[in-house]
């Protein structure tokens, strides 16, 4: 399993999760967990995904999701999970 964290930050609009999930589904990226909250007045969504089966290069997924965010008007980041686990888990 290769885990990554996708975060979406911005103004809440209809269909954000649908569009992200459609892209992930088309590229064989499996969603393991989704959570969302409001932080500092902004919509925050976090997905934990497994990208082990995708045929795309991880960097391409990062760029594609960023582009998708630009279309929707939100900031979408996709980062390998280790940067978070290293910082928050011993």
């Amino acid at each position: 399993m290769n885990k990554a964290i996708i975060t979406v930050v911005g103004r809440d609009t209809v269909g954000i999760i649908a569009k992200v999930c459609t892209y992930l589904s088309e590229n064989d990226v499996n969603v393991l967990d989704i959570s969302q909250t409001i932080i500092d007045g902004f919509f925050n969504m976090m997905m934990i995904v497994d990208y082990a089966n995708t045929s795309k290069d991880f960097g391409t997924i990062v760029d594609d999701l960023e582009g998708l965010g630009d279309q929707i008007g939100v900031r979408i980041r996709c980062q390998r999970e280790e940067i978070f686990t290293q910082m928050h888990r011993i």
Binding site: S35, T37, N44, F84, M87, H88
Partner: protein
């Protein structure tokens, strides 16, 4: 499983508090390039660097994208050139030729800076080392990204005062040779005492002779993150303050460790060390001076500054050391004046003086760093400043350094612009009472009594 607040905290550090990895530095040994023909030497050096570091910049950018963490610089350090070139270089022009090949190789692989045009003369200079030092004005004027360092003392050897004396003159000559550019050449030259072999930061980085063929060292940063965390410590006691700094340093260093391991794995080059330094930039909110002010000082440079810095330096180490499997380099808080907005402001306000900076260097990881001084400062005064810093390093068994820039044609009241990460600096006044007789004595200052531990 990770929760959304933890993920948010990390990304806030990156996006709003300027958390970055300051540098991935590949150390490359050039000892196997040695030959007695200077043209052949230059070819060997160029080939070795462009082969070993071929994928360094691309790998750095890939890691940046995959983890979403900026890696500001990709750099190279090499074996001190005075050792590599001793058999081939018989003139200053020969050393300049070698420097050009380093410059070309570094540009070919796309790194920001290359360090190691260096001489280690802590006890005495060989003719080759002296020749390298004398080539520095031309080398630093003609090359763009070659950095140089000279180690003039150590706790075990004492201080080579002949080298200290020479370096005062050389710094003046470098200043004149790069006068059109606010004496920028001096920005690329550091004079050390107790120089570490594995420093990933510039301009003082070189690949020590105790190192292997190639190594990956990483320098972390993050004064902005520490500063932000200290907002929660306002009005609290020192125990709370120290715990906050330690926790933050731990988190920052874990990112450095991750990047170092990943770079090492992808490049198939052994991981060396993580350098735990808090390295500021002149951007607002990325300042060590600001961290000290959040500890409770109205402005960095006033009474209490040395104690605050001592505490900060110690807590950064205590927090960081458990976060990494190997810690090395300089590891502490940096205080480069021109690269730190709050220090620049304190100098402009008259609250931060060279004498206070000297005291601060007793308790942090570096020395008098990125300080612009009047262009008419005498060579002997600069040598005196170097001797003072070297003495602090020698006696306290720590690294100290001097990177002062006598800005040609400028004086107190003017300011110098170095650009990019190097920042800008108001010219600081220097005590000009003469030390000429002292620095001209010749010979060396013996090692201190506590160095005899065998």
């Amino acid at each position: 499983m990770l929760n959304i607040m933890e993920v948010h905290e990390t990304n806030k550090m990156i996006e709003q508090e300027k958390l970055d990895v300051r540098t991935i530095t590949m150390g490359i040994s050039l000892l196997d390039c040695v030959t007695d023909d200077v043209d052949k030497l230059c070819d060997n050096i160029y080939t070795k660097i462009t082969t070993k570091a071929h994928d360094l910049v691309k790998t750095g950018k890939d890691i940046e994208r995959d983890f979403g963490i900026p890696i500001v610089n990709k750099r190279i350090t090499v074996t001190p050139i005075s050792l590599v070139a001793a058999g081939a270089c018989t003139t200053i022009d020969d050393y300049v030729q070698v420097a050009h090949s380093l410059d070309r190789a570094a540009k070919q692989v796309g790194v920001d800076l290359i360090g190691g045009f260096s001489a280690l003369v802590s006890k005495s200079m060989t003719p080759a080392e002296e020749l390298l030092i004398r080539s520095l004005p031309q080398v630093l004027a003609e090359t763009d990204i070659v950095c140089s360092s000279v180690n003039v003392g150590s706790t075990k050897t004492g201080i080579d005062m002949n080298a200290v004396n020479l370096m005062g003159h050389i710094i003046k000559d470098v200043s004149t040779a790069t006068a059109d550019n606010d004496s920028y050449g001096c920005v690329k030259l550091v004079v050390f005492c107790n120089a570490p072999d594995d420093n990933p930061f510039m301009a003082g980085g070189f690949h020590g002779v105790t190192e292997g063929d190639a190594v990956i060292n990483v320098g972390v940063s993050g004064p902005g993150v520490v500063s932000k965390a200290l907002d929660a410590a306002r009005g609290k006691d020192f125990e709370f303050l120290c715990q906050t700094i330690k926790h933050t340093a731990f988190k920052i260093t874990r990112v450095g460790q991750l990047v170092a391991q990943e770079a090492s794995h992808r490049l198939n080059v052994p991981f060396g060390i993580v350098d735990l330094s808090l390295a500021p930039t002149s951007a607002a909110g990325d300042s060590v001076g600001e961290v000290l002010e959040k500890c409770g000082l109205s402005q960095v440079g006033g009474p209490g500054t040395t104690a605050a810095l001592a505490m900060l330096n110690d807590q950064v180490k205590k927090g960081g050391i458990m976060a990494s499997s190997y810690v090395g380099g300089l590891s502490g808080a940096f205080i480069p004046v021109s690269e730190d907005k709050n220090m620049i402001d304190a100098v402009a306000a008259g609250n931060l003086r060279i004498e206070k900076l000297e005291a601060m260097t007793c308790v942090c990881s570096v020395g008098l760093d990125m300080i612009a001084i009047p262009g008419d400062t005498s060579a002997s005064t600069i040598s005196g400043m170097i001797a003072d810093e070297a003495a602090i390093g020698m006696v306290n068994q720590k690294t100290t350094a001097v990177r002062v820039i006598p800005v040609a044609g400028k004086g107190v009241g003017d300011s110098a612009e170095f650009g990019g990460l190097m920042g800008y600096a108001p010219i600081m006044p220097v005590n000009t009472s003469s030390c000429e007789e002292f620095v001209n004595r010749g010979g060396r200052i013996p090692a201190p009594i506590h160095s005899f531990k065998n």
